[in-house]
């Protein structure tokens, strides 16, 4: 059924690492943003007043994590559309390889890269952030993987509709980045205008952000059952939708 999955996953990781710009965009860039923002905020506001310290201690790691997830999704959208346009998907399809296996391999690659980026960020952050971080890293990584997985399903939908690889990156960015704005990271979702509020309620980031913030702050998983369930439902809906509209060539 999933014959070839691990081999394909391994090959795709190697291919990804051979592409210097892709590796930088997905791993290097979020880490860099995290460090630069952290240093600016840290220097200006030292010793940090309460509000600023809460930004550094909670929102910044969450923002950086969300950036990791979004860039992973963008890179998936781009890869799928390049593979489709170049006939690579079609060539893979003309083997006993199943479509699910191809997509699953790419999702696993993105999740592994997400975890790797997060690990790098924690290592780099330790050096530049003098503040003690008591965040539960294992739970946080898990929460981020669940969030990425769910946002990836929106990526599938975008990958299914973008006409050519050239548009994949900009269209993906136009759809994904505003999602961060209404996700509750900067403005509370309750205080958004009704229309945006309604939109925010069906976007995975709206559930990913409180989940990530909560777990970072040391909440128990039981307090975020609702968020995880919402992410799972959104994943199921988007995956089902994209399975219907997905084009292989």
């Amino acid at each position: 059924m999933m014959r070839g999955l691990w081999k394909l996953t391994w090959i795709e990781i190697k291919i990804f690492l051979r592409e210097p710009l892709g590796a930088f965009g997905t791993i290097g860039f979020p880490v860099l943003v995290f460090l630069v923002l952290g240093r600016i905020a840290g220097r200006r506001l030292a010793p940090p007043p309460l509000a600023a310290s809460s930004f550094i201690l909670v929102s910044l790691p969450v923002l950086a994590s969300v950036l990791i997830a979004v860039s992973a999704v963008l890179s998936l959208v781009t890869i799928i559309s390049i593979y489709r346009e170049g006939g690579i998907l079609k060539r893979l399809r003309a083997t006993p390889l199943r479509p699910q296996t191809i997509l699953t391999a790419h999702v696993i690659v993105k999740l592994i890269l997400t975890a790797a980026t997060l690990a790098l960020m924690v290592l780099a952050g330790k050096r530049y952030y003098p503040v003690d971080v008591h965040a539960p890293l294992f739970s946080f990584t898990l929460a981020l993987l669940i969030s990425t997985w769910s946002i990836l399903s929106i990526g599938f939908l975008i990958a299914s509709i973008v006409p050519t690889a050239r548009f994949a990156q900009p269209i993906g960015a136009i759809i994904l980045y505003p999602m961060i704005a209404v996700s509750g990271l900067f403005v509370r979702v309750d205080s958004l205008p009704p229309v945006l509020h309604a939109v925010a309620r069906v976007l995975p980031l709206t559930y990913a952000v409180p989940l990530l913030q909560g777990i970072w702050n040391g909440d128990a998983w039981s307090t975020h059952v609702g968020d995880v369930a919402a992410l799972a439902v959104l994943f199921a809906v988007c995956t089902a939708l994209s399975a219907r509209v997905f084009r292989w060539e």
Partner: protein, 305 residues
Amino acid sequence: MRPVIQVSGVRKTYGKTVAVDEVSFEVNEGEIFGLIGPNGAGKTTTMECIEGLRTPDQGTISVLGLDPFRHVYKLQDRIGVQLQQAQLQKRIKVWEALDLWALLYQKKAIDGEHLLEQLGLADKRGAWFMNLSGGQKQRLFIALALINDPEVVFLDELTTGLDPQSRRAIWDLVRGIRARGKTVFLTTHLMEEAERLCDRVAIIEHGRIIDIDRPERLVDRHCPERTVVLATDDPIAEDRFRAVPGVEAVILTDLRFTIRGRGDDLVTEVIRCLSENRIRVTDFRTILPNLEDVFLKLTGHSIRE
């Protein structure tokens, strides 16, 4: 001979465009069968329906006793496919692609390294796909189509864009596939390729099959004309040539005769006439019709147009 591919009444439309209509034919075990016609005639659509990549709107297809639509994975396990205009990941290495493909099939794959050697790719095994030349990419795709030791091999326009030397090398490869008892189904718009390679060909135009047979029989059936061109200054020659059996026209321009007639025996008869009458010739050529002429005759236009 056992038919391994049976196509009957297949029709496929894209919107209002009819790509393939009422297409029926059989491909026998162990033969090289060619579907020939100009670009846009429906060759690739027909082939992709047989491979299970497209679903025909009407008609039935059976490959190795399987329905390509319902048993697509079972079928793809037993066939090898080379697609027109396919690509691989830019930075995948040659050996990685073979390694991946070898794992995808139920059946034990054949030795990839040996295959690379046979295809002249051994020194490129560590190269990225994007750095291969057109001919090398094509040979890699042939290797991928053969890695599972398939019973039927599908080759879509396999030498398009290649230089004559690589083309000949690939023809030899295809003959080698047949020599191992495999069936080959190919499409081409190159008449020379079809004539040199195929045991049987089907001529397709505007989505319909016009005729199917061995290349030489198609030529005999549709273009029985033979032409001999020779040069002589013998004054009795013209009358003698007109008396040769089968000759229909004798044209003289600048001491050069063009003799037209019908039938396989025409050339022999002209030679006999020359020797019996001791006519001295300074030049002798025969012009025989080929598939190109058959296509022109059947469709009223050249395949290149």
